[in-house]
Amino acid sequence: MLIKAIFISILFVFSNLTFAKLNIQHWETNNGARIYFIENHDLPIVDINVDFRAGSVKDNKQKNGLASLTNHMMVLGSGGINEEDLANKFIDLGAQLNSSFDQDKSGFSLRTLSDKKSEAIDLLTLVLHEPDFDSDILEREKKRYIASINQSKTMPGSIASKAFMKALYNEHPYGLPSSGEVEAIKKIRKKDLHDFYKIHYLSNELSIVIVGDISRKEAENLGNKISLGFSENKMTLEIPSVDYIKGQEIKISHPAKQAHLYYGAPIIKRGDPDFLVLYLGNYILGGGGFVSRLTQVIREDRGLAYSVYSYFMPFIEAGPFQVAVQTKKSQVKQAKELIQKTVAEFIQNGPTSKELRRAKDFMIGGFPLRLDSNKKILEYVSMMAFYKYPLDYLETFTNKIDKITAEEIKSAFQRRVDMSKFSTVIVGSE
């Protein structure tokens, strides 16, 4: 199937906002793990998501890839049960275990039928508490990582995004590729994984979200059971803050038909008071799919690209604001100039009152769509839990959006979005 545009999936990446009268129950375990529970017996399903602050931001250059490999190896054998038997035990229960990984977090999620929940939760606990990190499997997986990293070095989109993060963050760990680098991965040993796990998989850096057909008492037991397998260490190293780096212009040649352009700078972290204002503004600028200014200028008015978008991606520390487009090589200069002009105009003048009203209507009127399944609730609340959002965040969301003025958006963009600091990466420039 050909989707008319990819904006919807892009939107989901950053549109981590919502309202709702979700009854979120929240407590902390004795050793500091944060538990979030939404009880709902409509369907005989239990969803659990467990996140640790153990993303690639915890990597260093020498062992870049260790955080990702640790996450990956967690599900490949535990407590002496080999990888095949372990996978089959989940499948035989009809349960699904998935792992996720990004710059900030290492996550594991379980979906199980409620009548199989205790067996499935036992298995999840085993996976989390007793990873084997088998040496032979590690060597095999390292080779697969290396092959896929080498392959990504031939793909224009991957080359561009990697060069972009490097340009923005240089030596900061956000500048390291999440899946690591070949030479660093070669050096990683079983002991490194064990050490990384011991140091970074901590109860006080753990958030657990439970949604569905399970009682409060069972949810409490589950939270205790999982968190008690991890040690607490309040003296963990803080993530370094992001230093300002001068904007650069990087051009990389590539035989592809299209050029890939990335444009932006590190701007905002989670919990920043300007975030909601910038987020609403960006919907108008480049986040709102078919109806954004960038899409109008690049795609609708001129047919220059299939996809163009912008977004703020806040991390624990300052995450990037970025604009991206792919267009045939001969048009990339034109696209770049139009993007710069559109962003500059938006910063200078802010949105029109009509644009602002429509953006608010979209956010407020479409609010229920963000939480219309257990899976979406799980994902949304997991984000809130991991980044320690206030519990009333959802309830107050639409109200806060409603109060934002055009002047506030303009002022926030003028204070925070400084184009003179932007970097540009073009892969496949002529």
């Binding site: 545009a5 038909k257 429509r358």
Partner: protein, 455 residues
Amino acid sequence: MNRIKIVFFLCLMPLFAQAGLNVQEITLKNGMRVLVKEDHRSPVAVSMIWYRAGSLDEVNGKTGVAHLLEHMMFKGTKTTKPGEYSEIVAAAGGRENAFTGADYTAYFQRLEKSKLPISMKMEADRMQNLVITKEEFKKEIQVVMEERRWRTDDKPKAQVNELFNSLIFRVHPYGRPIVGWMSDLENMTHEDAIEWYRMWYSPSNAILVIGGDVDAKKVFSEAKKYFADIPAYKIAKRKPQIEPKQNGSRRAILKAPSKLPYIQMGYPAPTLGKDGIKNKKEAFALEVLVGILSGTSSSRLNQNLVRNISRAINVGAGYNMLSRGGQSSFEMYATPSEKVSVIDLEKYLKLELKNIVDNGVTDAELKRVITSVIAGEVYQKDSVFGAVMQIGQLETMGYSHKIVDDYIDNIKQVTSQDIQVVIKKYFHDDALTVVTLDPQPLDKNKLPKGKPHAH
């Protein structure tokens, strides 16, 4: 979402994960069908309109026109400007998009439930009053060409897949790319788009499927209001374009910038008859075979080739038991490990099939497929969108959505011997098609390192 034709399943049987759909249905006086699936868990509605028109119905020289028309459907009607409906949907808090497959073109909106009439009004309007101007066409065809560059031309695996389809189907239209050949896009005119619209966008060729927190009776009366008076016209008779039996293997090599090689191989395979009965035994045996070979980390291909003997980095298999065009294929694809050639990998993939012919599959494997399907059916209930999608696909392809009710029973009946029989019947070398990727350096002046890629 995957292209329906490619069959890169990530999990088992996404088309079939829901029994007891409980769908209510009417047919309007112009022949348009309306199906409603109520689900009151959340105050939202999903609306999808499906047209029985896809790349399957295109002719040579005009490939890609179904997909182009999908883009043009956002470009205004007699009473609305280009993009105006997108603004209206967005201002209602809604999400919308559209997709084109080989078998259908579909348009959808997700809305807070009270906003559902917005979607009906819009779809009724663009079903009959679409305006395709030369100016808008000229811009949008550029967008579609960019989409083709992004989706296919700059992605080696997508190029392999395109070549593979064109080799395995020489006569059947599934051999042509949904997005269209670049030359056809370059020579397409706005008249081609208008011609397509006038051929296929009759209400009698459309199916409206609505799900969510709605009342079926109210939906029916709204649907009557918006759609029942749209005049239907006769839809051209479709030619079957049956693929002749393949006599001898077909092989091709694709060169593209890449570090790793890649192989896609497969055989033509039958689909389930539209009555849900014809080819049932074979189609379900193939369905279970794919579940045993691929789909989970401990399925045979991954467990044996990636984990146990490390001959592949990635591997998978796919098969679509349903299609409107009455034709399918069984496919396997893999990326070899370092120092393993695609020729050797082809042998390993075939050995997996031979191993089943010689020794069968185990009861544990059969049971695992059944367990996954039963659980998957429950999990699917969490998604209204999934249910609406499933109903629309089945009905547009010409099946009744009720065939879902027997799905688990049919899966349960598959035996090891059934699987052996289909492998022996369909998977022989004279019916084989193989396309391999021969990786080229990014810099054309540089020779590839190591040994040249042998075939």
